[in-house]
């Protein structure tokens, strides 16, 4: 039996669906025995199908299998939906993966070859456009400088106002009742959004929820205010700093570099076999939104470790409302790809600058001890004091409930406290059964948030188990 999409499973096809409804509809249509399928065929490089709905509308579906194997979603269907892939494309994919014996081996008809030709032309044009974007011209430099100066001016003004606001808070004292009001923080955050500093706005919104967390909130809040003040002072010296430190400051402020802007910096590009060690997703929202559980901007962090380089990388993505993230890599997956790291004194965030990405099942990786990782973190912090999360892969730890707190304990007794935000403590405990296991996660300087675990070669994704869906 011919395998059209080598290594693909039904679950993997489902992951491509833009939403659950499409996946379900696609699965329903994926019955090649049905008369509605007038043709389902492939030449091994592309696949196509002709589907006639009950209303009589004929849908022609085409998929470039070669590109799909390399993570490039090249497909088409003449139905009217804006969703990509539509239910017809999903149905054809399900058939290819699940019931390949019903797929006829044939040469592509003219409408498929025409489409493939057009796609090839479009791909070439896209590549040329990308090249043009990467080329630095005097006009581009001038345009960038103008935009840069304007935004810097806005941020400077915003931070100047914020500095005075912070001083006033400390003068009046944190016991001031208004500190406990979400509005107090959200209003200031809105001013920072206007000043084009969304990173600080998000930070302020998060600070607004600290007083609601319990009785001992003065110290954690003061820690955050102090760090924010240091950031303001650092930003005042922006022009005297190295480009890498400038990039780190910009990243905290929320003035993110676009991919094509990285050409203005000396970036590190690295090809490696990257193993996904953990995945975290959460909401980027205001304290008020969090309390009302409104749907807003969400973020996803995928942590990877290069098998040859031993280097950690972070794929950071944002999505709004019900829309899905671009990357779907989860613990248990490894990818062969070229990563370009965003400029930083301690580069972690990267993007995949490569069309040639192949996925494999991940092999076990070697982690570190708690002390080794803490030492690595201290080094990273000396390079970039604004690091918010740092990846740990702890080789041999046992989850234990200790003094009303969950900890990850090594056999010699050394331990790290787990974040209160982590919801799957009991799942982690059950997984371990009192035996040492490998746990990966994010360290923020005071608590550890597990994002994945590995036991006897099996990876566990806490985004699936132990998280509200």
């Amino acid at each position: 039996m011919t395998e059209f999409l080598s290594g693909w499973t039904v679950e993997r096809v489902t992951l491509l669906a833009p939403d659950a409804v499409s996946a379900q509809s696609g699965r329903k249509l994926a019955n090649p025995r049905d008369d509605e399928w007038q043709a389902v065929a492939s030449d091994g490089y592309s696949a196509w199908g002709v589907f006639q709905s009950r209303r009589g509308t004929v849908h022609k579906i085409q998929i470039d299998l070669l590109k799909l194997q390399h993570g490039d979603h090249v497909w088409a269907c003449n139905c009217r939906t804006h969703k990509s892939p539509c239910k017809h494309i999903l149905a054809l994919l399900y058939i290819l993966v699940d019931e390949p014996e019903f797929v006829t081996q044939a040469s592509p008809p003219h409408w498929v070859t025409d489409w493939l030709d057009k796609e090839a032309i479009s791909a070439r044009k896209r590549e040329e456009r990308k090249k043009r974007q990467r080329t630095i011209t005097p006009e581009k430099i001038e345009q960038r400088q103008k935009q840069f100066a304007k935004r810097k001016q806005n941020i400077d003004a915003g931070l100047q106002e914020l500095e005075q606001w912070l001083i006033n808070i400390i003068r009046r004292g944190l016991a001031d009742p208004q500190i406990r009001s979400y509005d107090f923080w959200d209003t200031r955050a809105a001013r920072l959004v206007d000043a084009q500093a969304p990173g600080i706005a998000t930070w302020l919104k998060a600070m607004g929820s600290i007083p609601a967390k319990g009785t001992d909130w003065i110290e954690p809040l003061l820690d955050q205010l102090g760090r924010l003040y240091l950031l303001i002072e650092s930003f005042k010296r922006y022009d005297d700093l190295s480009p890498e430190i400038q990039a780190d400051l910009r990243s905290v402020v929320g003035w993110h570099l676009k991919r094509d802007e990285t050409v203005f910096f000396d970036t590190v590009t690295m090809r490696d076999h990257w193993v996904v060690t953990g995945r975290y997703s959460g909401m980027v929202q205001s304290a008020e939104q969090a309390s009302q559980q409104k749907r807003g901007l969400k973020t996803q962090r995928i942590w990877l470790r290069g098998m040859q380089s031993g280097r950690d990388a972070l794929l950071l993505e944002f999505a709004f409302g019900d829309s899905l993230f671009d990357s779907h890599y989860n613990p248990g997956v490894a990818i062969d790809a070229e990563f370009t790291f965003y400029p930083s004194r301690y580069p972690l965030r990267a993007f995949i600058d490569d069309q040639d990405v192949t996925e494999h099942p991940a092999e076990p990786i070697v982690g570190d001890t708690i002390l080794e990782d803490i030492e690595n973190y201290a080094h990273a912090l000396s390079q970039n004091p604004w690091l918010l999360q740092y990846p740990f892969v702890l080789d041999s730890v046992i989850p234990v409930h200790h003094d009303n707190q969950w900890i990850l304990r090594e056999t010699d007794g050394t331990y790290l406290p787990l974040s209160e935000e982590f919801q799957a403590n009991w799942e982690l405990f059950a997984l371990s059964g009192g035996h040492p296991i490998q746990v990966s996660g994010e360290w923020d300087g005071s608590v550890f948030h597990p994002t994945g675990a590995m036991d006897k070669g099996r990876y566990i994704d806490f985004e699936i188990i132990g998280k509200v869906q």
């Binding site: 039904v10 679950e11 379900q24 699965r27 912070l166 001083i167 400390i170 003068r171 009046r172 004292g173 944190l174 016991a175 001031d176 003065i218 110290e219 003061l222 820690d223 205010l225 102090g226 760090r227 924010l228 003040y229 240091l230 002072e233 708690i370 002390l371 803490i374 973190y377 201290a378 912090l381 000396s382 004091p385 046992i398 234990v400 200790h402 304990r409 056999t411 010699d412 007794g413 050394t414 331990y415 799957a424 009991w426 799942e427 405990f429 059950a430 997984l431 059964g433 009192g434 035996h435 300087g445 005071s446 036991d455 099996r458 566990i460 699936i464 188990i465 132990g466 998280k467 869906q469």
Partner: protein
Amino acid sequence: MTQRLSLIASRGTDRLEASFTHEHDQIQQMIQAMDEASDPIQVLRLAGFLTLHNRAGYMPQCDSRPLHTFLEPDPEHEQISYSPAVVQMLARIFYGNYPQTYREWLHFVTLDERTFPYEALPMMLSLATRYLDTRHMTKRIIGSRGRWLIDHTTHRGWDWAKSIKPAKRPRLTKYGKQESRVIERLEVARYRRISLEATFELQTMRFPWSKHFSRILAQTFETALQLGTQYQPTDLRQKLDVLQWSIHPNQTNRISDTLLSYHPHGEYGVIRHEFLRVMTFRQSLRAVFSESV
């Protein structure tokens, strides 16, 4: 130092003067260098500096007690092969809107002798704590790791599992007699309505109901509505709440069409929509078991 800093920050520099000393030489030097700044700035700078200092110099704590004195590991610790989709479904049941469908999940797991990973156990035990009738069956399949987990858990309400007897085998025809009793009651009413007595009986019968029984119920429901029986939205919701968790999904379209022709709009429309959502979820649950290996 940290306490003094927190006190000043809490009361405000308008009330308390910012003056600090630290035993660490380098920190003391930094404090002296900040002397010219105003009080609030000194507080903010020092707070920021100490936070970074603490983070960079974090030393993990150590619990000197030998581990085995308070945590004996489970003697069984094996790699189990399982279907991720089955476990993902359990997570959707646990965290989603339809935890009642745990009965159905459990039914298929025991029927097909499906394995699941250790990390699924807390969700199963929590669901069984909530739905009493699933406890015997849950206890049957939790294995050594499940018993270990129960022994090492407090404050989770899993104590029932220490005393309850595990079910010996999946009881697939549990409601045979009850189904006959309900059918008798429907027959008395000439299959024109689902009487109150029948409804009470149905409430005690959990999933699974046989296909034949489901068809008779759906048919009676259809006849009742076609004959013009007046149902208030609350009554209708109650009737469906009895049916939707246990009726065979192949009756979905029939019930949905009946509801549509009865009263397509307003609150009745919402009821139909909710019914369809539950049935779609149950269908996807079944699909997971029919597809996954």
